[in-house]
Symmetry: D3
Subunit: 131 residues, 6 copies
């Protein structure tokens, strides 16, 4: 249950439809997922968010699959259910194997554990880690 | 300022020294960082944490550099200062370029933003994302 | 699914009913929402929480609608689904327009993003920000 | 201690200087704070972040002071020290009184408390809160 | 809806079944809960997690019931729904009374509130708290 | 560096001094720690927070030492440095041994790890955990 109804294509303004169409074109699918349909209540926020996401998640110095796994890692630490589902699905669509997923989970679990231990003990940063 | 004094080599028990020596051997450096010196107050916790970290962060289906960047991503979302410094340094030591770091930051920023938007709107998970 | 059954008016003790009645009087509605019915298992905690909430959220130096939006912002960053729903509804009941909600979402998204970037880079606080 | 050195005006590229100049012009001050000087290592990220911040935090359906207080609220829940300092300072610069700050703190404390209680009891969302 | 199907006894490998059997033996119940059935996709992660959990949560310097309540407290602050349900149930199975649960909730609520206030005001650590 | 100067006894109003005196009497020490001196800018918030803390943290169905350890656990998951220091010191003052502290750390680390794994896999709550 969202705090806002999802905007269908029929309800969308021309400005919103243009973003939906770009999402379809860039992703090579007709499906526009719920996040964009909720965000469509604020066309300026929708356009800014999609424009930036397209830039950030595209190919660059990091592999697009690595970027999706990083997205999952942040979303897990934040406890964002929708984000975990959508980006785990995206990582699979970009070729994440079961073995890679298992290692992703292992690193997340390990990082959570040591984050807790370090925070509990308030360990001071080593000088060697300074830039 | 830690909640516990850091254990030097001189103060370490034989059990703790064995772990410190393994850290030195695996990492090819004489330096044992503060996290392990704080954890050394509980030798069983030290041994279990190091043993597991060695397994998880070693080579496997994911590249060790990718694992370090995932570690940074979790640590940022959790706000763990020490973890951010130590794993950013480790990622650099494993070859992370400035361009890769810039993209890591961009993905983290993007993920934080959409995590907040999704959570605020309580967007329901799309059926297509279900396993 | 709660970890505790919700307390109905029929099951409530006189002490709990007195709080429920005050909630109804202050809010001008017969409806007592689930949070209070769960908290009612501990009458002292119920009375202390309601008493304080009534003080804090009433009129003062800040507008009650602004207070509800601040509540939503905290709840989003904490990922508290119930809190997001109840305080978004309360903000609407206090007159939040769709344009204001859109800007609330935009600020939350922006703050989440820069929180992530600042934390990732461990930016030192500028002296000019010191009191 | 940042994970990156801060970029001075002397070290800045023309692209970065253009953003610094826009920050100065929009804010009516010569001072460019550390966040932008850290972000300047990635000129595209700097430009995108500043461009979006300028849009989001400007006047609109919500008062700029309200936006700053919302920013503080998110930053507190995320535990971002730098963000808390810079946006508390910005809220003061935009006229936040001590009484308003006291109420901001009270709402944040109240929201944190009830977020914890609701989450602990896993209270189900009331149907009346559904859109 | 998990991101992975749960592994039944019939689908489990010998390695996974050995862990499931140990869970049954240690806990004195036939029931293996969903967490272990999801984790079973990665047998090494399953074995490492169960092995460590068994050590950590067993009797020692702290009472097993106290450990379960500490687990609930961490899980609430992290917003982990599953963890809250499973460890609240475990605490009840280990004898947590309603009065103890009420106090657990009160401490969690109090800690969340003062965490928010302290973080908002960025209170410096008193020297007397230093080790 | 706080966002507010700390209020000394000399600067305190009669209303604030009355709370400071009660803190001294209840704790059997002359020392009033920084949290209360920061909160003193808002006497009503100071009085409400101290009044509630005194009730919640006193003896009851849970041991005061257990309550301090629960406070530490919440504060670690929230990453509140001040809270971790002050409540770890309080737990030590109430008799926490090094072995108990080691187990507290172990439970926190374990809970953080499984919180991350459960959240990453979005494990559905078992029916047996329902009330």
């Amino acid at each position: 249950m969202a705090t806002l109804p999802l905007i269908s294509d029929e309800e969308a303004s021309a400005e919103v439809l243009a973003v939906f169409d770009d999402i379809r074109a860039v992703r090579g699918t007709d499906y526009v997922n719920n996040f964009w349909r909720a965000l469509a209540h604020d066309p300026a926020l929708l356009a800014a968010t999609w424009g930036r996401l397209k830039d950030v998640m595209g190919p660059g110095a990091l592999d697009p699959l690595v970027k999706e796994m990083l997205y999952v890692a942040v979303s897990v630490a934040n406890g964002c259910e929708y984000c975990i589902h959508s980006h785990t699905a995206a990582a699979r669509a970009k070729g994440m194997t079961q073995a890679q997923y298992g290692e992703l989970l292992s690193v997340i679990g390990m990082a959570m554990q040591t984050n807790g231990l370090v925070t509990a003990m308030q360990v001071p940063v080593d000088e060697v880690f300074e830039v």
